[in-house]
Symmetry: C2
Subunit: 174 residues, 2 copies
C-alpha cells in the first residue's frame, strides 16, 4: 500500500471537544482512536497434580514459561477466550472450573482474568506462539524462568486455593 506523505494515522495527542482526556487523533481526517485497557484471559490448567505451562516463542519474554493466556477478542465471553487461548498455545482442551484471580496491571493498561481449569485429556502440543508445552509437578515449576510476575501470582494463588479449599477470587498481592 502506498501512503501519501501526510498520512500518519491517529498520531496527534489532543483533547477532543466534549472530552476530558487526551486521545490520539488523526491529523489528516480527524479520526479519534480511543484507547482503553485490554482484557487478558488465561487459565491455570491441571491434569491430576500437574500444571500446564507454555514456553513462549514470541516477545516479550521469548524463551520463558507462561500460562496459556492472551487478549480477549470482540464478542467473546472471558471463559471462552481462556479456553481458546489454551487451544491456540498448547492444543489443550480444557474445562473451566471458576475464576481464580483478577489482576490489575495498570502500568501496561491490562486487566487479567485467570480461570481455574482441568485438562479434558492429557495430550498437548506447542501452538505457533509456544516453543514447547509441558505438564509440571509443583516441585518442578521453573519459578526462576517464568515470563511475568502475574504467572507466579496465579500459580501461588492456585496452589493456595487447592490447599485451603478457598475458592474466592484472588487479586494482586500486596
Amino acid at each position: 500500500m502506498s501512503h501519501p506523505p501526510s498520512a500518519r494515522g491517529p498520531s496527534l495527542l489532543k483533547i477532543p471537544d466534549g472530552d476530558t482526556r487526551e486521545r490520539k487523533v488523526c491529523p489528516d481526517c480527524g479520526f479519534i482512536a480511543y484507547e482503553n485497557p485490554k482484557v487478558v484471559v488465561g487459565s491455570v490448567c491441571r491434569w491430576g497434580e500437574r500444571i500446564l505451562l507454555c514456553r513462549r516463542s514470541i516477545d516479550p519474554r521469548a524463551g520463558y514459561w507462561t500460562l496459556p493466556a492472551g487478549y480477549l477478542e470482540l464478542n467473546e465471553a472471558s471463559a471462552h477466550g481462556a479456553a481458546r487461548e489454551a487451544w491456540e498455545e498448547a492444543r489443550a482442551e480444557i474445562a473451566i472450573e471458576g475464576l481464580l484471580a483478577v489482576y490489575d496491571i495498570p502500568r501496561i493498561s491490562q486487566v487479567q482474568l485467570i480461570y481455574r481449569a482441568q485438562l479434558v485429556r492429557p495430550e498437548i502440543e506447542a501452538g505457533p506462539e509456544s516453543l514447547e508445552v509441558r505438564l509440571f509437578g509443583w516441585d518442578e515449576i521453573p519459578w526462576q524462568d517464568l515470563a511475568f510476575p502475574s504467572v507466579a501470582w496465579a500459580l501461588s494463588h492456585y496452589r493456595d486455593s487447592i490447599a485451603s479449599g478457598d475458592l474466592t477470587t484472588r487479586h494482586n498481592p500486596a
Copy 2:
C-alpha cells in the same frame, strides 16, 4: 477541522498480513484500528442498609436507574476506576470492600467488574451524567426502572452475599 474528501478513518474491513481476524483499516493511510472488548468498572455502594443508585441523564437508557459505573481508563487499576466513577456520577466518596461480580456481555464486547463498597459519608449529589442520585432501601429499589439487566444481577448478587456471608465473586446468572 476540514477533511479531504477521501479521508474516512479506519473504515475498511480486512485481515491484515499475519493476522487471522478482520480489523478496521484506514483506506488512506493503512492505520489498523485494533478493537478489543472494554472493561466497565462499577460498584454496589451502601450506607447502612441503603444502596446508592443514579438516574441516568444520558443515553443509552436515559431516565433509568443504574449503579455508578463506566469505562476503565488507561493506566487505571479497576478498583480505583470504580471509585472514580462513584465520584463522577454521584459525588460519592467510597471505600471498596471486594469484587462482587464479573459479568461478560459479549454482545457488546464488555467485561464488567462490579465491586462491593461502602459510602465513607452519606452526602451524595448528581454528577453531569446523572439526573438524580438516591439511597434506596431494599424494599424501595425500582426494579422495573433499572437501566440494564446487569444492574439487577449485581443488586441481587449483593443482597445474596449480605444474607449468606458468601463473598465469592459472582458471574452472569444462568
